[in-house]
Symmetry: C4
């Protein structure tokens, strides 16, 4: 069991360090977590520590009630921990979560604008429009800001009938994006993809105000050649 | 024969690695191929492999029917292979092809907007407006998406009477750009040029909505001082 | 006493070098200073020296009257020295100041546009709208440009009833931003945050002309979870 | 005499290499030259050679008639050589020239838009609006494109009564910027400054359509604190 946890801590540590080297994050504006579903344990970045200094043994390991366990460091976990926890509890097929304030995705979140699918780059990663989760009420903020952030995201997915595996991203109004994936690294890749798609969308909308979405048959084709049982992108058996 | 193929695999490998180092491509969103017209063999990046890990011996070598040959690796070739193949068969004077989802060129492609020639940077590389190839129909997508992508590109060139040597680029609607050139590295340079021209054009259009194209005599001058029999750019006998 | 000053010179030197490596500054367009309130001494970058060449012993040490002291180098201090001095005299709780011409923050300053708080990235660092300080009059410019720049900034803060600890940034009209913080490095972090917030705001305003500010209860929540007695961001006892 | 020329070749080579490392130039889209007024000799980059490979001994040395001399390499000089020559002959107080297709300055040139002075970053380097030189006529292009480019630039400066020392930059319509300075490195710095000012101006104009120029007294103050007899920026006796 310890070996699996050690590998998880290492991967989560690497994914957090990549937040900075990928250019997605400045200062300490982001965090990545990963989960071991079998053991019911997950780990996340400690709060406010610089990415370049992160070590696997500093990762904080929590249980599914959000308690810090003795399997990881005693540092205070990321301030967004309760948001991650709620997403892991509700989106039971995801294995990693990334939160950033990446520039272009955050522009959309701040403007409470959904990110429509205008092209195949988007279709390759996100099956349709990336939704916006509503702002929290004063009561929710006063009660438990980070927990209710997770609740608002999940609520929005169920409202729209979205499958979090097909739509591994959300924009929280006035805040920033969250993405997820099969594991920590996969959630990070979806953050990179989301940032590029947001930048491209802003440009396409500038060139063509009122631009319509990608035709549905092209969206489906691109998404399905990368994902699902008939996928033929990449090497067989590889990610 | 093997020496020529080895050199081709090395060049194609280097050009693929340069996709990432040049900043044109994130994740695995692009591929470069090169052809040996005498042997009727061409080679392309394997699908979904990270650029930093690519080695010449991993390049996949195909014949002009699109069969993977024993001259290269047994990895699955890029998912865009059939598009490359069709372009090599129809554009018989080109020696290399690059496909990217570079940010600014993709903004134009997603908006189905042609890229007009506003300045000499564009004229140096592309002789006039970079065209848009139409979106595929549901039938074409169902039949063979990547092959029909190539067909739509070639169809657009013949419709417009464009010479692919003078216009080494196209924007596929809802998708992204393809460029080509004398060889793999030359097609990569045209992708770099296209990306810069798209970024500059977006800015010029913002500064001056309704901006007209570059005067024809300046377009011709700049294109011809770099290309064709009277060219005087660069060193004699050099590329 | 000399040990404390040596540490201050080292920190101010590092923060100035980071102006360039962080991408905030080109050429020599920026400077950082730091103060030792107990000794009433502060130090700043020498004027026009390239960042890569800076050494701690080149830092210029001044007293609270703006006289260059023998505790530091005899180089001419930054041309913006009198602005820093006035801010240290009036904003008595700040320990470091950074001045840059960073691209996006300067766009707002040049346009004499305040920077509204549209999201939590901004709220995490700046408690509300970042103000604009007015342009100087011809008389002020003729009398003492850099001193009156400081006066105009302080005047604007008192006019608006702003606490410089809660709002550690200002945009000077037609000019560029100044930020400050607990120490030199903290003022630099606020310059990095300001630049990102300006870029994000420009994008959000493009996506949604007329966009309103972040709801007040979310602004307060984000600011207070990072600052003040109830803060729970970062590690306890850490910065 | 050879020592002075060797130093000139070294400086011009370094400035050309810095075109790429500074991010101003992609591929081979730019060139820098420098002049020794006493000897009446000047040197420029060879045409189409990659920046990373440049060596001082490859610099081409020309006389004031534009003849390649035996003091430098026998490579073909930059295709823009005649433009540089004409500027050196007419602007007798300049010592270096840089030509780039840097992205934001080129957006303005392509749109035939002057670059107004909106802030002190601009004022520090350029005393007022950076002018646009007109497009060449078909006759001028047919006769001698590069020579007439220089002629059109000089003509525009005399028309507007501009002093090339106070205004070390021009935007050529449909083409790109040229800058100059005291020497090769100084002309390169002006290209870096022009690019930043163009990017900032585009943003300020987006935030505030119809934005007016910087007040004249602030323009003068900032320009004169860096340039002219009363300058107090930088170290005394230093550049």
């Amino acid at each position: 069991m310890s070996k699996i946890l050690d590998a998880l801590k290492k991967e989560v540590c690497e994914a957090n360090r990549a937040l900075e080297t990928s250019g997605l994050v400045k200062l300490t504006w982001g965090n990545v977590s990963g989960i071991d579903r079998l053991q019911g344990l997950w780990c996340i970045k400690p709060s406010g520590v610089a990415y370049g200094d992160l070590k696997p043994e500093q990762m904080v390991v929590l249980d599914m009630e959000g308690n810090v366990t003795k399997h990881g460091s005693a540092l205070r976990p990321s301030s967004d921990t309760k948001t991650h926890l709620h997403l892991y509890r509700e989106f039971i097929h995801i294995g990693g979560i990334t939160h950033t304030h990446s520039v272009y995705a955050t522009m959309f979140a701040q403007a409470s604008r959904e990110l429509p699918c205008f092209g195949t780059t988007h279709a390759d990663h996100f099956y349709g429009t990336v939704p916006v989760a509503r702002a929290l009420t004063p009561e929710e903020v006063a009660d438990d800001y980070e927990h209710h952030t997770g609740v608002a995201i999940v609520e929005r997915f169920w409202e729209l009938g979205l499958d979090p595996v097909e739509m591994p991203a959300v924009l929280q109004a006035h805040h920033a994006p969250f993405t997820w994936g099969k594991n920590a690294m996969d959630s990070l890749k979806n953050s990179i993809a989301l940032e590029m798609c947001a930048q491209m969308a802003l440009g396409s909308m500038t060139l063509h105000p009122g631009l319509g979405k990608i035709p549905q048959h092209i969206l489906e084709k691109h998404h399905l050649r990368k994902h699902g049982p008939g996928a033929y992108y990449g090497q067989q058996g590889a990610n």
